[in-house]
Amino acid sequence: MKAFADLYTTLDETNKTNAKIEALRAYFQGAPPADAAWVLYFLIGRRPRRAIAVRKLAEWAAQEADIPDWLFSESYDAVGDIAETIALILPETGAVSELSLHDWVEARLLGLQGLPEPEQRTLILQAWREQSRQQRFIWNKLITGEFRVGVSQKLVTRALAEVSGLDEATLAHRLMGQWEPTPAFYQALLASEVQDAQISRPYPFFLAYPIEGDPAATLGEIHEWQTEWKWDGIRAQLIRRAGETFLWSRGEELVTDRYPEVVAAADQLPDGVVLDGELLPWKAGLVLPFAKLQQRIGRKSLSRKLLGDVPVIFLAYDLLEYNGVDWRAQPLHQRRAQLTEIIQAFSQEGPLLLSPLVQVDSWAALAEQREESRGRMVEGLMLKRIDSPYRVGRQRGDWWKWKIEPYTVDAVLINAQRGSGKRASLYTDYTFGVWDDAGNLIPFAKAYSGLTDAEIRQVDAFIRRNTLEKFGPVRTVKPELVFELAFEGIQQSSRHKSGIAVRFPRILRWRQDKPLAEADTLATIRAMLPTEA
């Protein structure tokens, strides 16, 4: 546990990417595989099922520290992180645990699962008493599963690449899908050659950056580019191997069970095929609003009615594997040709469709097409170099997204919640309202980003001084501050008080010049709704 706690502290204490990679490299070089496998597992954001409610941990810590619950809450309010608050208030014992990380996880943490509460409490208190403050913090993080230490999966992969001498893409691929953090897994991960027995494993997604400036000026000849619509659904990978079908979302979640219509069609794919594409709600040849798809997301049991109301299709973008061979290095035009051939065997009604190309012969014509995005219910265009390989992660150069300009409105800050990670001690998650006809502010969108650090501090101070009420973590705030918000899409929604749901809302800027009364009205925003929705 000590080596990991030290690693965590080092990662936490530096803002510099190189220093983080160096610390990770040093750790993985020396760590026993049994520990390293768990560290990897936690750092890339995986976590075991939570055995104990956070509320219980807080309660027991307050008892151990002999402070009342209200004082714990005040402390948490100042710290903004429950694992840290607990570590800070527990009485210091001077103890330091010598137990290894995998023992802490396997014998102590996983052992908590399913025990009656009094036994869990005894074990937790015992653990705290054996640990230093830093170890308690790590241990609490292991329990709550909220590791945020400014390390992305990409960074971890880079460090492991340095340790193993493998390339990052190979490691990224081996880290996809389902695996258990065992020494055997860790050793296989770093082995120079590995027989990939795992048939469900997806490839890392290739993601595009937004284009900067005018494509006509920067991207050269238009015929060197394949252009498609940028759809607003769930990016996914469809795998057909060894007679089985797997569907992965970009969030690396296996969602095979959630989209039975897609899976039924995919069972007809030839064996040894992996497709990159988008899950979209689709009816009678037209895409439905994203809000419809949300009714399907996370729904474990699918009623016949829901399947009928919101049918989902898989719109294929790319071919990553064919005949069991990794095709990612092939040029895009070849992959597209083969993909077209595969998809042609399927009905044009769905649920397995080919992403249509936007056929134009000039950048000007493409720009005109882009203007139609809203009517087509897409977010803009995707530009892909026709000879590009399918790369790993977000990279510049070969693929670009060319989104339409967002909608903007001026809205009023009406309530706030704490942020997470480095902003956990500040109020950074805001809800904004707009005026209705009766002169009330109606909650309309939530947004988290878009302000500078200095503005965040100012707004945080304003929130603390102008809190009207507290409901759990939420503070309602005196309406005063006006912000310009941007968002990508807008739909009617019965689930929102405003009757409207927006996509990707974010703060463009703080309108310190704008009086409260001049914020936008619901009527103005309703006028933005697509006419047929």
Partner: protein, 347 residues
């Protein structure tokens, strides 16, 4: 203290100018200029510019002078020595916060009030140590009035700083340590191992170093960074106020590591928000246990809580059976609910 009959006495009352003693006609740490001010210490939120006369502890004369200017009428008094203002007995006693910091003891007709100002309980090489003054009515600060604030001995913190500085020096880097220019900077200077390398200072720190040295406090040799020409800062330690961070002033030091010494560094989020490489938990205020222990030790029957987490500390004291109340402070930025960013100057 023995119980008196007159429990409702208000020897000190809160006015729009600050704490006021009507009988003695003087203010303690007033917020706006007044005719007569008795001042606990030279930090700006306690020592306002423009009063007609000031009464301060002798030990703090040089640092108060630095803040108030040559023309201010400064009356000094040794710790423990009594002065009478309109028949009210006033004496100043060490608060252990910074050089010259004092608790103000006010006595009239057998009733004793003590105003703590800012204080800490741990010994500090740059100022006299806190003394517990028994009283009927104690007015305590509460800057770190939450149970999450618990200080390690400063020797352990200085060892961390030394180790960090040495390590940076070995990697050919300069080391910039940000801290409050009055008090913390000098405490750090007196605590570090100056044999590791040269020590440079920001102008704001250097001026106060001179005031400390003039007051007889031993500090290692420091060089005002602007006074020298092109210097190789590798291996050096630079002490600067937080306000210098993220300004072009730091560019001259080349490749460097940065740290911040403050009680606020106890919380990870506070350090990350400051975007420094290292946070050192070193405070000139009492921690949670220090506040509770001190308040109990005074034997006060009634306790006013000001400065920081006032409501929290007052509520806890009430639960512990001590008659306590929160005193509203003037600065919005210093109410108990202010964010770390506003509080981080730790005055």
């Amino acid at each position: 203290m023995t119980t008196r009959n007159n429990r409702t006495s208000l020897l000190l009352t809160l006015t729009e100018y600050g704490l006021y003693c009507a009988v003695g006609d003087f203010y303690i740490d007033p917020w706006q200029p007044v005719p007569r001010a008795v001042v606990t210490h030279a930090h700006s939120d306690h020592c306002v510019y423009g009063c007609q006369t000031y009464l301060v502890a002798q030990a703090g004369e040089h640092v108060c002078r630095m803040r108030l200017g040559e023309t201010a009428l400064l009356q000094t008094v040794a710790y423990g020595e009594a002065t009478y203002l309109n028949g009210v007995r006033v004496s100043l006693h060490p608060a252990g916060h910074i050089l010259g910091s004092a608790q103000i003891r006010v006595e009239y007709q057998g009733e004793v009030w003590v105003v703590s100002g800012d204080y800490k309980r741990e010994a500090d090489a740059t100022c006299a140590s806190f003394e517990v003054i028994p009283c009927h009515h104690f007015i305590s600060e509460a800057t770190f009035g939450l149970p999450i604030y618990h200080w390690q001995p400063s020797q352990a913190i200085f060892a961390q700083i030394n180790q960090w500085w040495r390590n940076n020096a070995e990697h050919g880097k300069a080391t910039i340590l940000y801290c409050y220019a009055l008090g913390k900077a000098q405490r750090v200077l007196a605590g570090i191992d100056a044999s590791i390398g040269r020590v440079f200072t920001h102008g704001a720190v250097e001026r106060l170093n001179q005031a400390y040295r003039a007051s007889g406090v031993a500090l290692p040799e420091t060089v005002y960074a602007m006074s020298v020409g092109k210097v190789d800062y590798r291996g050096a330690l630079i002490i600067a106020p937080v306000s210098a961070r993220a300004t072009s002033w730091v560019n001259r030091f080349g490749d460097h590591a940065s740290g911040f010494a403050s009680g606020w560094m106890r919380i990870r989020g506070a350090r990350r928000q400051r975007a420094v490489d290292r946070g050192f938990v070193l405070s000139d205020h009492a921690d949670w246990d220090g506040l509770l222990a001190t308040i109990k030790a005074t034997g006060a029957e009634r306790v006013g809580v000001t400065h920081g987490y006032t409501a929290v500390l007052a509520r806890r004291l009430l639960e512990l059976g001590i008659d306590a109340y929160a005193i509203e402070t003037r600065y919005r930025g210093e109410t108990n609910d202010a964010s770390e960013a506003e509080l981080a100057s730790e005055t």
